[in-house]
Symmetry: C2
Subunit: 367 residues, 2 copies
């Protein structure tokens, strides 16, 4: 098992990751507002650091920030939706959302075509966020490359990234990231600035800040948390974070932006979805109908079932029934796939209408 | 001999440095405008990279940029004056001057007191630059930490530093700098942005840019030149640079900001100057009067003579006469020191009046 911000491979053992990364499982009750959300209820968000501070804000209606980013590459797919769902959840709970387009990181690690990066960020990501329910109120949407505002806010963001360098050593970067290049170090320092700059006096001032991430992104949190406490003159409140499990690719391997058959994009047509699930979705069923009816399938490794669990069957009882019927063999793989196809296409039909509407709102989000 | 941006020690062999750093001696005639300047005439500026491009601008009255910076630490002394003299020379020759206060670098390498850095930059450095003749016209004076302007110029500077990281490897940093830390790498990338950002479309666009430095600073030039040619979408004109020899400290060791007896500050009183030269200036004379008269002294290692050569005896014939008389033993160390003391104090008397006048102009330079 290898889990770093730049590579995830092998069989993922989340309990081992909890130990290895030093994050914590949720060993306290979550309020109803969070339990209502299936990502929390189903333990898809499975670990945290200092989340108590955010709970306190939610319970006592105190102001907090949720910060996250997007890497503009490829199509917006269900893996991205998992984070989008969290953004919209916290926005509804009153958080101020800081949402960055990590275009400088993308430039440093992947694609040097800046115009293309901008186009992808807007047409793929922002459009889908809006269609999924992201509101303009309590939102600060920005491009890393353009992070500057009138007057005092000018270059506080980049300046923070530059001075953060003083507060970490190469050995730390190496021990946290495994290997490191100038581009990765620069990206890491920008991530630190992304996470901490909402607390600068030019923005909100010191304030509880939540960064929800996939567990592979924890190294960025770890070094940012350390740096935050070493920059004495800013008095940063320590960062909070939550960690979600990986949504597997359709074939149960990791999703890959460069392989469209590994994911469902939110712009996929009905036909494409049907084809992708039938052809590529990994089945937890048995090789023959006879065996399946005798031994039953394994829903926990079946990607059609996993999609229902993560997104498309909000009713716990119904999900449990599908789980039980599949395990007992009474529900066949082809039937399960049909259920998933119907649910996804029903969602996408509505979503794609919302996307068309969202397009006309883009400009108001950019200004 | 060790010569890096962070350490200079041992006996300096400039011919060896020319080879080692891969810079070039001036093997072409310099125009009168430059020969008139004693730093060029006396080979104190002894090497260059791509200076032909700047000569072409000077000869044909084409626009060019001269970029340099100051590290706000300690008092402004004669070592700093050497660079100031070059700034003012090129400003008179029509160059647009980009002059940065490297306060982020200072934060990253020395002093985390940002208010103190600002105070030193203004009260010590800027005041003396103005008194030495720096004009407001064709000057862009900025603090690294505040580099941002209205509208389009906003964060182009910091953005450039961030994307520059993609275009260099750790092995390059290591081979160029010897050793490297995150803070040093961040400083190096900011230096690259300092040197190249005048060529961004938000500033001048591609334009010949001269960076005059002490030879120890060449590693910054080397990596910036390499990076500039790798960032394809900006079309940077390759940087030009000149290299000057080190002004030794009074005791002939390296000057040190933390040892006031190693330098003459431009705020030193008549009495302090007299005392420092008499007590600390290294003498190239013989141990006894008898021996000195017999064997003669060595002006080339005598720091009183060196100060005359670098700054205070602009007349070549007079300087040669002093050189010859000292070498022959007819001029004694105490007499040579008296000459130097008189010259420095005469300069400082006028300069300190100009400093008082400069104080009232500070604000107009900052806006």
């Amino acid at each position: 098992m290898k889990v770093t911000p730049w590579e995830v491979s092998g069989k993922i053992d989340y309990n081992k990751l909890i130990d290895q990364f030093g994050v914590k499982p949720f060993n306290f009750a979550l309020p109803k507002k969070l339990q209502d959300n299936l990502l929390f209820r189903r333990n898809i968000i499975f670990a945290h650091r200092d989340f108590e501070r955010i709970l306190d804000c939610i319970k006592n209606k105190k102001k907090f920030v949720m910060m996250t980013g997007l890497m503009p590459s490829g199509k917006f797919h269900l893996g991205h939706k998992m984070l989008a769902d969290q953004i919209i959840l916290y926005q509804k709970l009153g958080a101020k959302i800081y949402l960055t387009v990590a275009d400088v990181e993308a430039y440093n690690s992947r694609n040097t075509n800046i115009d293309e990066l901008k186009k992808i960020a807007i047409e793929e990501y922002l459009t889908n966020y809006i269609a999924l329910g992201l509101k303009k109120k309590n939102l600060d949407f920005y491009f890393q490359s353009k992070r500057s505002k009138d007057g005092k806010k000018s270059n506080a963001f980049y300046n923070l990234a530059a001075i953060a360098a003083r507060h970490a050593t190469f050995n730390e970067f190496r021990s946290i990231y495994g290997d490191i290049t100038p581009a990765k170090m620069s990206s890491s320092l920008l991530q630190t600035a992304d996470m901490l700059h909402p607390q600068l006096e030019e923005f909100e001032g010191p304030i509880p800040t939540l960064v929800p991430v996939g567990i592979d992104q924890d190294p960025h949190l770890k070094i940012s948390r350390d740096i935050s406490q070493r920059i004495k003159f800013h008095n940063f409140t320590q960062l909070s974070s939550t960690y979600h499990t990986f949504l597997p690719g359709l074939s149960s391997e990791k999703m890959s932006s460069s392989d469209p058959n590994s994911y469902i994009a939110l712009t996929d047509s009905e036909e494409t979805v049907t084809n992708k699930i039938k052809k590529y979705a990994f089945s937890g069923g048995q090789p023959t109908l006879k065996e399946h009816k005798e031994k039953g399938g394994n829903p926990d490794i079946d990607t059609s079932f996993i999609l229902l669990k993560y997104f498309f069957e909000p009713n716990d009882k119904k999900l449990q029934t599908l789980h039980d019927r599949y395990s007992s063999g009474s529900l066949l793989t082809s039937d399960l796939k049909d259920i998933t196809i119907t649910k996804i296409n029903s969602f996408l039909k509505t979503h794609q209408k919302k996307r068309e509407k969202a397009k006309s709102q883009i400009n108001s989000y950019l200004n």
